[in-house]
């Protein structure tokens, strides 16, 4: 089934450790996004990429980095995790941007 694959599904991470959340899409969408979901705050944009080779900062980029070496992959890296990064992370992609969004199933990350 075409769509977005996120890995891992869930993870417990010690504070100070680094981690990369993986995101792969097979729809050849140009744009990809990383959101974090926190209760009472909805989904907030961390980083985005409008096309392979380019990235941009969203609303809450601090403590996170991304890369877009090719169209299909958009990994999110936490260099030194802190407890405030405990959240559910969603990867998404879109084609033209005005309507065709696809979401992954999310990664639940707990930083202890």
């Amino acid at each position: 089934t075409a769509g977005i694959t996120q890995a891992p599904t869930s993870q417990i991470l010690a504070a100070g450790r680094s981690m990369t959340l993986r995101c792969t899409q097979d729809m050849r969408h140009n744009a990809m996004y990383w959101y974090r979901q926190d209760l009472g705050l909805g989904l907030r944009l961390i980083h985005y990429s409008n096309t392979a080779g380019t990235t941009g900062k969203g609303e809450v980029p601090d403590g996170y980095s991304v890369s877009r070496a090719n169209t299909d992959d958009f990994p999110l890296t936490l260099a030194s995790a802190v407890p405030s990064q405990t959240s559910v992370y969603f990867c998404a992609s879109s084609d033209s941007g005005l309507g065709g969004y696809t979401f992954g199933s999310g990664t639940r990350l707990t930083v202890v």
Binding site: A31, Y33, Y35, G40, L41, G42, L43, R44, L45, Y48, N50, G58, V88, F90, A92, S94, G97, L98, G99, Y101, F103, S105, G106
Partner: protein
Amino acid sequence: AQTVTQSQPEMSVQEAETVTLSCTYDTSENNYYLFWYKQPPSRQMILVIRQEAYKQQNATENRFSVNFQKAAKSFSLKISDSQLGDTAMYFCAFTSGSARQLTFGSGTQLTVLP
């Protein structure tokens, strides 16, 4: 910057009844799209309905319809004949021609009571 506001953190409705979820937004753009997404306990983000700002007619998808008031920047979701499977978190979202990413509201947890 665009903002999306959902002022109802929680709502409940009896099965088979009708419920309306509120959403307001703020933008200076003229070309934009509005969405309602459903997130059940499975965590999956499911598109419920979409509205293009240039269309005056309100979007409808089966039991789901919107009341789009462009001048008031209001975009409410009406669920008719509520079903137990409608229990979920509902997010209102916005995107414009100048920024492709979605901006989300804080969500409304809807519970359908048997």
